[in-house]
């Protein structure tokens, strides 16, 4: 029989996870140059909702966690290719060599255009994961392993202060929900997003070309703005699918989100922690110990915690531990 037993109901675990989930906010931005075009993003998001389910196999499932995007802005920059008139060659009878005409270009330099639409309102995503509950011992005397610092990573991307607790200053028993599988919805942009991008790019290209017959001529040369955009962006099919691929694969935002969940729950934020030794009575300044009334600082009374273990069934999370000798 363990000396200490603590059981937390599924409802209490749910409340605790809700508190943690609502604290998670992140922000990230980056850009990539794809040659003919560049793409960047600036995203801000947070988590909402989520249903916690304790499972009989010693795991906790957190499902249907809504990823709410406060900002999902993509910046697309296009290098408009040279738009020139003239050129070509005249074939002349032998022995005269052909003559070739110079081209005269419409713009001095390669024009770039960029747009930065925000698609936060158009994307709805969910994330779910199943994690095993694990009790780990945090030993102050053991230095952290070299290499990747998961909590440092989280500190750099989580916005808002204090989502991550300060590193413990004493040895600690910590209980984590270590995600084993993470399911996340792919970025899925509605058709309307493709239209929005096309309209925005068209407007941006149009803005640099004078109107009237000049625009007609330029558009005739470049083959129409829609075709030009598709050519530059190398869009095989629909823009919304291309955009989804950009977020899902090229930007690696899915990996980023998964990593947040993995590190947050698996390494950086224990759902519960208890100091070892555990302080039963705090330090106390007493004037009653000596007859003279001189103050005496009595040391805190601490009790060692041993053999902490955790298990989950479908109704509750149970933590057991012994009092050390």
């Amino acid at each position: 029989m363990s000396h200490l037993t603590v059981a937390v109901s599924e409802a209490a675990v749910r409340k605790s996870v809700e508190v943690l989930v609502e604290a998670v906010k992140w922000e990230k931005q980056d850009s990539k140059d794809f040659g003919r075009f560049s793409a960047g993003y600036h995203v801000k998001g947070h988590l909402e909702g989520g249903a916690v389910d304790l499972r009989a196999d010693n795991t906790i499932e957190i499902k249907e966690l809504d990823i709410k995007w406060d900002k999902l802005q993509v910046t697309l920059g296009l290098d408009i290719p040279e738009i020139c008139v003239g050129g070509g060659c005249i074939n002349l009878p032998w022995p005269l060599p052909d003559i070739c005409l110079p081209r005269v270009c419409v713009f001095s330099g390669d024009p770039d255009i960029s747009i930065s639409p925000d698609f936060a309102a158009f994307v709805a995503q969910e994330i779910s994961f199943i994690g095993s509950v694990e009790a780990r011992y945090f030993d102050m005397t053991v230095p952290p392993p070299p290499g990747f610092d998961p909590c440092g990573f989280l500190n750099s991307v989580l916005s808002g202060t204090g989502v991550l607790p300060d590193p413990p200053t004493t040895n600690q028993w910590q209980i984590f929900v270590d995600p084993e599988t993470v399911d996340i919805d792919l970025f899925d942009f509605a058709d309307i997003v493709g239209d929005l991008i096309e309209d925005a790019l068209t407007a941006a290209v149009t803005a640099i070309i004078p109107g009237g017959w000049v625009r007609d001529l330029v558009l005739a040369i470049i083959g129409g703005i829609a075709d030009l955009i598709r050519f530059i962006l190398d869009i095989p099919d629909e823009i919304d699918e291309w955009l989804s691929d950009l977020f899902n694969v090229s930007f690696g935002l899915l990996d980023f989100l998964v990593q947040i969940v993995l590190e947050l729950f698996g390494n950086c934020v224990p759902i519960y922690a208890i100091d070892d030794p555990f302080e039963v009575l705090p330090a106390k300044v007493s004037n009653d110990v000596l007859l003279s009334g001189a103050p005496v600082t009595l040391v805190p009374v601490k009790v060692p915690i041993a053999d902490l273990s955790v298990m989950v069934d479908d109704t509750e999370l149970v933590v057991r531990a012994d009092v050390g000798a």
Partner: protein
């Protein structure tokens, strides 16, 4: 049946765990369990039972006991006291069902109750004949000087005779009132003190060579209950006393008096100091959640589940354990 069928949080502590915690408490806060006159600082070997203190206590220079005034000797013309000590040397708790036999006076351990067996030792200095003989002339002279004799006023000048050192030991009287006594003051442990013509200032503590110790086993029966503490918003687990029995002490009236005294000491002196909030006793959930609560604007509070509304007893003393049932409340608008 799950632990949390009727609550959000369940916590239990087995009696073995409690007894270990008590042992840690005795070693790390010995001044709660040992009381003695200051003379024992210099002569800890005189305690009835050696005090085992944790290294942290020694490193911090914490006193091993709580200082007490010497036991006064009534009727002396100037304050005279003798050294004593009182120690709680062992304590073991037994949650229902009963594992430790109780004295017949306490009967069987009722459900939802616990018993606490404590072994207490006390020691009082018994001054030697030498000490009394050495001090007596001074008592007499001072009584004379103060004209507190039963025979009434006596016309005689003070002093004039030599007081010499004993040739046999620490104390010696050569037929005349001594000029030098081995005395002890509360702040001068077992050091020689010189009595001159003037009456001594403060209490003269008689020198101690040997403590007469006796030990008693005290059995108490009590229960736990939740209560408020002025100045605190959270519920505290308090220990309440139902009965006290001191074994093999007579006569009956003396036993009753001492039992009453012990009960009073426990109720007013000891037990209030060991009351603890639920989350401290079981698991510091609130600490973790409150840290996050501060950051997310949530107020996370842990309170006892209402009894008998949610659970029959809270805390419950059963199965050799104390069990507590908690209710977790998360509300908006935290600090």
């Amino acid at each position: 049946m799950a632990f949390t069928d009727h609550s959000d949080l369940f916590g239990s502590v087995h009696e073995d765990g409690v007894n270990l915690v008590v042992r840690h408490l005795m070693r790390q806060r010995p001044s709660l369990f040992n009381y003695a006159t200051p003379a024992f600082h210099a002569r800890p070997d005189l305690f009835c039972q050696p005090i085992e203190a944790a290294k942290s206590v020694k490193d911090a220079g914490n006193p091993l006991f709580t200082e007490q005034e010497p036991l006064p000797i009534f009727g002396t013309p100037f304050p005279v006291g003798i050294n004593f000590c009182l120690q709680l040397v062992d304590a073991r708790i037994d949650f229902h069902p009963q594992d430790v036999p109780l004295p017949p006076e306490l009967g069987e351990l009722p459900p939802q109750r616990f018993s606490l067996m404590a072994a207490a030792c006390a020691g009082i200095d018994c001054p030697s004949e030498e000490v009394i003989a050495g001090l007596l002339p001074w008592i007499e002279r001072e009584l004379l000087a103060q004209q507190k004799l039963a025979v009434g006023k006596v016309e005689e000048s003070r002093g004039g005779k030599d007081v010499g050192r004993s040739q046999t030991g620490a104390l010696g009287v050569t037929g005349a009132p001594p000029r030098r006594l081995v005395g002890v003051r509360p702040d001068v442990a077992l050091q020689p003190a010189v009595l001159d013509e003037r009456p001594p200032r403060g209490t003269v503590v008689l020198p101690t060579r040997r403590i007469e110790c006796f030990c008693l086993e005290v059995y108490t029966v009590g229960h736990f209950e939740w209560g408020a503490v002025p100045g605190s918003e959270q519920a505290w687990l308090k220990t309440k006393l139902d009965g006290v029995e001191i074994v093999d002490l007579g006569p009956e009236r003396l036993e009753a008096s001492i039992e009453c005294y012990v009960a009073t000491v426990l109720r007013l002196g000891i037990l209030p100091q060991v009351m603890v909030p639920l989350e401290k006793l079981v698991l510091d959930i609130t600490k973790v959640l409150a840290e996050q609560g501060l950051q997310v604007g949530k107020q996370v509070t842990l309170g006892p589940s209402p009894a008998p509304g949610d659970v029959p007893n809270n805390p419950a003393v059963e199965d050799d354990m104390i069990k507590a049932f908690g209710k977790l409340t998360v509300t908006d608008g935290g600090a």
